[in-house]
């Protein structure tokens, strides 16, 4: 209850700061969406020149992309840690966080909430609905619960990976630039993994499990037999990723020594 109260206070605060630059808020939402549109345009243009991508049709690939957008929006809204190292370690803001009663990681999440990202999730759902209708996918009793569970699991995978990488900045002084690298690798996960070579498939499944935030869970709704097993593994992968993330984070926080003035 205490943490929920904090969340609503932070959201109120967020609204106040954002409303000072009202026009800019919408420009930002639109520019976010434009970025997503770029990826969709890419898919559409590709399918003007081919009928299938590694055995997947246009509607299927679009559906996967739609699903991919949903957990990404949730993650970007609640677990945004971009620029953590500069803001909290270099400037010493971590000191302020650690002297407060709420859990430190939770506070950092709260200070960076970004609700406009959720608009991306909504668009993702819309894309799934449209391409699902085109494909004539059945709407089962478990569709909605599965969607919620898989979204939470996929968000957990993102959170685990990015928390782990962010926590690395407690151990190294220099900014590593490894996070922008991840942002690029995750885009591999939204296309049918079967089109990559074996090494990349293993990497995306077991080492940096970004295939679990896009193509595998989407495979469940697309009734892709070969991916059902992987889709059902998503919550397990999510739980593992979150545990690793929290473990590395708490180890890192213990190593933190104030740096700023």
């Amino acid at each position: 209850m205490y943490h929920l109260g904090l969340l609503s206070e932070y959201l109120k605060n967020y609204m106040k700061t954002r409303l000072t630059y009202r026009a800019d808020f919408w420009v930002e939402v639109i520019s976010d969406l434009l970025f997503q549109v770029t990826n969709l345009v890419f898919i559409f243009v590709i399918f003007m020149h081919t009928n299938s991508l590694a055995g997947w049709s246009q509607n299927e690939v679009v559906f996967v992309y739609g699903f991919f957008m949903v957990p990404w929006g949730v993650f970007a809204c609640f677990v945004n840690m971009w620029n953590f190292s500069e803001r909290y370690i270099v400037k010493g803001e971590m000191d302020r966080i650690l002297t407060r009663p709420a859990h430190n990681l939770f506070q950092i999440f709260l200070e960076n909430v970004d609700p406009p990202s959720l608009i991306g999730s909504l668009i993702g759902l819309l894309i799934m609905a449209v391409s699902g209708l085109n494909l004539g996918l059945p709407f089962e009793w478990w569709t909605i619960p599965a969607l919620i569970l898989l979204t939470i699991s996929a968000t957990g995978i993102y959170m685990g990976i990015y928390t782990t990488l962010t926590a690395l900045s407690f151990f190294s002084d220099a900014p590593t630039g490894i996070i922008p690298l991840m942002y690029n690798i995750q885009s591999y996960g939204r296309y049918p993994v079967t089109m990559y070579n074996r090494a990349i498939q293993v990497l995306l499944t077991w080492i940096l499990p970004f295939a679990f935030v896009g193509v595998y869970p989407a495979g469940l709704f697309l009734q892709r037999e070969e991916m059902t097993r992987m889709a059902l593994l998503t919550p397990v992968m999510g739980a593992i990723a979150v545990s690793i993330g929290l473990f590395v984070w708490s180890r890192g926080v213990r190593r933190y020594k104030g740096a700023g003035s």
Partner: protein, 264 residues
């Protein structure tokens, strides 16, 4: 006076050199982007011979060259200018005895030279190891490409300066800058070569300046455009370079009259 501008290039180059470590991950990031595109195009081509005038091997080269060209021409002049505007330091820079926009362009050039030597060339070497990239043998293609690459830099920087100066009029242009980046990546032919877009869209894109940044130099380098054609596409770049000077000067003049400092 000229000496001062040369110093802008030199100082920026040295500053970048001091932080060169950051660029090693940049090389990896660009290789990964080439990788995503390479595997996607490979899956699209399948057994197909040619798409939009590109053979499968030309497409691999095009993707690699386009990303590596971006490694050279990309810069954050828009962000630098808008933060100068927001923290008010632009007022000081306006009264100094140099042209603010020209100084920014020179700094961009210093950054570009750094990126060319320590980012683009090693990145290209790595990409050639990882993917079947084929470099042209024709010296004309090389010469044409290098000159056009320089103009890619000029045109991209002009667009950046224009976006940055717009901060005078919209106060917080964060969204605008992001929008510009997405538009440039998509419409310059970096993600999809312009000849693969549907007819009506590629017709529109051929009337816009973005193609001059990636698509035209890439076409020369992959050998799709040869001989006299090189002069034609170079002409397109020259025209856009000249045309973009107009809004640039106009914005600069208007900005000097409108200057109001938000902070500092």
């Amino acid at each position: 006076m000229l000496q001062a501008y040369f110093d802008f290039i030199r100082i920026r180059f040295l500053t970048m050199l001091a932080y060169r470590l950051n660029y090693y991950t940049g090389i990896l990031i660009y290789s990964l982007n080439i990788g995503v595109n390479y595997f996607t195009w490979k899956a699209i081509y399948g057994q197909g011979e040619s798409l939009g005038g590109f053979t499968a091997s030309q497409m691999t080269t095009y993707v690699a060259v386009s990303w590596m060209a971006r490694a050279f021409y990309f810069n954050n002049l828009d962000r630098e200018i808008s933060s100068d505007i927001r923290d008010g330091s632009i007022a000081i820079q306006f009264i100094r005895p140099y042209n603010y926009v020209l100084a920014k362009m020179m700094q961009g050039l210093g950054e570009g030279m750094f990126r060319f030597m320590l980012f683009m060339i090693p990145g290209m070497a790595l990409a050639m190891l990882l993917f079947p990239v084929r470099l042209p043998h024709d010296p004309a293609a090389w010469a044409g490409f290098l000159v056009m690459l320089f103009f890619s830099f000029l045109i991209n920087s002009q667009l950046n300066v224009i976006t940055g100066l717009l901060a005078f009029f919209v106060e917080n242009n964060e969204g605008l800058m992001r929008m510009k980046r997405v538009v440039v990546d998509l419409f310059s032919g970096l993600i999809i070569p312009i000849s693969l877009f549907p007819g009506w869209l590629s017709a529109i894109l051929k009337l816009l300046p973005f193609q001059a940044i990636t698509y035209l130099p890439g076409s020369v380098f992959t050998g799709r455009v040869q001989g006299v054609g090189i002069w034609n596409v170079f002409g397109v770049q020259l025209i856009w370079f000249a045309l973009l000077l107009i809004p640039l000067f106009w914005l600069y003049r208007a900005a000097r009259q409108r200057l109001f400092v938000q902070g500092g």
